[in-house]
Amino acid sequence: MTATTAAPLPLQSPLESPASPPRNSSHKPVNLTRVFRWIYLTLLGIFFAVPMLAMARFAFQSVPVALLTPDKLFTGWSIEPLMNALTDTQALNAARISVTLAILSILINLVLLIPLAIVTEIKAPKLRPVLTAVTLLPWVVPPIALVVGVSATFRASAPWFLASIYSLVPFYALWALPFTYRALDAGLQAINAKTLYEAARSMGASFTTTVFKVLLPNMRASIVAAATLTAALVLGEFAFASLLLKETLPTYLVNFQRSDARGGLALAIFILILTALVIGISVRLMRKRGLNISSTGL
């Protein structure tokens, strides 16, 4: 954006200098940039919108493509496939499991990483790059290796662990580490945590008071960002759940789509819109409270 908005200025100035009379063509370079920008955005929009619209048409209109003529464009629309999918108890069950997993993963991550990020920032800022690298490790190891390794270990020592649906939580917590840590770290950097900490301490506040009254309240934006990212990740994660044979929302969706293609797509669109709404609302809420979104890694 900055590059395209900045471009017209140098192009425009020589033509608008007092020496040369105003001409109609003087705005041409500006228009070109603007036209290019619109073409670019339109193409990008089409790229994203067409598959969605196609998906929506397939899910909600019961007219096969082969029979779709202009006069039939507005016939046969119904939200019944979605209703069918939503009233399926199995779907609700899978959704409930996914939400529970997301909440647990978020809690574990925040409980582990908030103190770690704070202490690193204040007492050992030199360790920040090390932590960034360490938290990235789970992404270097592919899910299949992670699952095989862990399941081999646990199958021998604690088979009950793998049987439980909650065996996914440690994987997800690990998987979301880089996002959570980055969001928290960016938040601490943005509020100048070290200076705030020192200011509070110099006024006689204890460590606990400083953390709970000063640091945590100012980290709200990054905590929300970390939680949102983790939730998005867990709600859409397929590989771990599939490999461990658990029925979460994504694995259910894949199965459901096999038996009811239209219902599956209807559900997918529904989840997409819901997610967009949740993110939109949380960003709005953060903005309203004067929290800086750009500094949260979101």
């Binding site: 200076t195 705030l196 020192e198 110099s202 006024m203 000063v214 004067g290």
Partner: protein
């Protein structure tokens, strides 16, 4: 009122020495500026004083009581930081209240103190605003109010003005001085801006490479620097080769001046002459040529180049003249540069040649 003494502080960070044999006394009620180029250890000294860093050796005492190992939160000092340190989630009022709450004061007392602080810093209309709703200058005023609200033993200011623009910087600087005098708190002000230090300090401590070079009143520092570093760091100075006459006088350009060192007849040394101690007269057969003239308001700074490079140690000599006297000067003019008649002494910028020869280890090159 508090007397604070730092004695023989040493602090290293890995290989680099931040402070070495650093001793300084902050007299009760004084505003002391620690001044020096970046990396000279002034901020480290302040952070050791505040308790954010531990000294490797040495001690800090407050009214005779050793506080070297007392944690930050128990020192009862107030501090203002360079980068805005107001708590973003609290209004001005709540920010000032924070330290008072930590001191467990009654709510009536707190309200009274906050109102008084807001009044003396003229921030009443900003009381319920959050930091992001205020300008930089206002934020630093709240930070100042917050620091003095707890009635600290010592007020520490770590470059509090360097993030502000020139106009605000100057007015806040004067406000800090006024408030400091009013409440009489012993204050340490760290800065790299000499104008700031000279303008408000009772005492200025000039630091370089982890050491305190000199501590003195601004005037003493300017007129009687103890060494070449202080002389050239505070204000500008021109270096001239001087020749010793009899009776301990040194000859610089046209004048005989005193110096802090005795001279041996015929000896040479480098002496420092301040720009405002020089006079410049147009003369066809003069000893120098004007290379630049910059108008600075009441004063005009004239740069000249000497025909004989042996006279001046700098490639360029600068002279500050009253602007009214400069109308007749222009770049390229041949001029006669001389030391003004009212100058009676000069600062020694190098060892006299005779001493340099006797101390062969540290030869100071003098032409």
């Amino acid at each position: 009122m508090t007397r604070v003494v730092m004695s023989q502080i040493r602090k290293t960070f890995g290989e680099s020495i931040a402070l070495e044999d650093f001793s300084i006394i902050f007299e009760p009620g004084d505003l002391v500026c620690l001044l020096g180029p970046s990396g000279c250890g002034k901020t480290t000294a302040l952070r050791i004083l505040a308790g954010f860093e531990n000294a490797d050796s040495g001690s800090v005492t407050v009214n005779g009581e050793d506080i070297t190992r007392v944690p930050v939160s128990k020192r009862h000092f107030g501090m203002v930081f360079q980068d805005y340190s107001l708590f973003p989630n609290m209004t001005s009022r709540e920010n000032i209240d924070f330290g008072l709450k930590a001191q467990k004061r009654s709510s009536a007392q707190r309200t009274e103190i906050i109102d008084r602080m807001l009044f003396i810093t003229a921030l009443e209309d900003q009381a319920d605003k959050f930091p992001h709703q205020m300008s930089g200058g206002q934020k630093q005023r709240v930070a100042l109010a917050r620091a003095i609200a707890t009635e600290p033993n010592l007020l520490l200011l770590d470059e509090p003005l360097s993030a502000l623009d020139a106009k605000v910087r100057e007015s806040l600087r004067d406000e800090i001085r006024r408030l400091q005098k009013e409440i009489g708190v012993t204050t340490v002000f760290v800065t790299h801006d000499q104008d700031e230090a000279l303008a408000i300090a009772d005492q200025v401590g000039v630091m370089s490479r982890g050491r305190l070079e000199q501590i003195a009143s601004p005037r003493d520092l300017y007129e009687h620097p103890v060494n070449p570093f202080v002389a050239s760091f505070i204000g500008s100075i021109n270096r001239f080769v001087a020749i010793a006459g009899d009776q301990g006088m040194w000859g610089v350009l046209n004048r005989w001046v005193m110096s802090d060192r005795p001279s041996v007849l015929g000896d040479t040394a480098v002496l420092g002459i301040r720009p405002e101690e020089l006079a410049v007269d147009v003369a066809g057969d003069g000893n120098a040529r004007i290379t630049d003239i910059s108008f600075l308001g009441p004063v005009t700074r004239v740069s000249v180049e000497f025909a004989d490079h042996a006279t001046s140690q700098n490639p360029e000599v600068i002279a500050d003249l009253m602007s009214a006297e400069c109308a007749r000067l222009s770049v390229g003019d041949k001029v006669q540069v001389r030391v003004r008649d009212d100058v009676t002494s000069a600062i020694m910028m190098s060892k006299p040649e005779s001493e340099a020869f006797t101390e062969s280890e540290s030869i100071v090159h003098v032409n």
